[in-house]
Amino acid sequence: MMKSVWKFSIQMLFLIVVYQVGNWTARFFHLQIPGNVIGIVLLFVLLWLGVIKLEQIELASGWLLKHLGFFFIPISVGLMTLGDIFVAKGLPFLFVLIISAFIGLLFAGKVTQTVIMKNAKEKVNFHDHAI
């Protein structure tokens, strides 16, 4: 028990450090890319180069990802400050946000799936011709 708490804390500390390094990099080079995205790239490269092994961070990263939604809740509570605007314009806002989100979801999903299927088919056809 003690051992896994220790392991978990070290892993968490490591993820915090990677995140902060991402932030510093963004600020230092005046990048338009946010620190957390740089952090993702950085951790990916570390895993890819084998500097870090999956087992060495899986405990903390698994826990964080399982509760990813939680971290957005306190931010969302900020919606309470916009009560007035939403009373006045709530319906048109919701309409625009819902329809445009649905359009984006469908286009992104359908196009991606179609291209994947098409590429797979072409490979199969190519294979057929070869035979």
Binding site: G39, L79, A101, G109, T112, I116
Partner: protein, 224 residues
Amino acid sequence: MITLYSILITVSVYLFVQFLAKKYSSPLTSPVFLSTIIIIALLVVSNISFDEYKPAKTIMTYLLGPATVALAVPIYKNRKLFTKYFSAAFIGLSIGIVTTITSAIVLAKLLKLSNMFILALTVKSVTVPVATEIGRFIDGNLSLIAAFVIITGMIGAMFGAKLLSLFKIHHPFARGLAIGTIAHGIGTAEAVKEGEVQGAVAGAAMGIAAVLTSIIIPYIIELI
């Protein structure tokens, strides 16, 4: 004292909603959506303003950064998929971003919403920390931007999976990509639950969409 109370109700409401979501799975029990509503109601009843809630928010969101970084793990595990579907991902992502932003602008114009709202709508699909950065850059209303981003995330988390299934989009890679592109982190949190591929792709799509959007925004704003 208020901070401790705020943390206590946030965590307990989250745990309660998770338990509820397991029992009754529906868009209404989507964790971020339902927890937010219950917490706001509790704060209002307890007479606590958002300013008083803020210290608690700062403490609780401290791990959002490392949690986002942790998305590298599923991306790494599924790295072969990304090279395999590279062209599909790039085309799908770009079309998703462009269609969602354009449709939002056109609808807002039809409804005669003012430019302040239209400006905030352009970044609605970008993850919170990036959206506020872009918001500063384009001189937008930051709290309005945060609200649009969060609501868009909730819409994606609540209805995304159902909508994609309805239109026969079943490929896990395509599903994750759509959710991550449009509904950023809040959607990704749901995608992680649907499956590891979906979660990994959503996380990567969220990052790439944020970068792509920040590149094309200046051109889109000229058109408004």
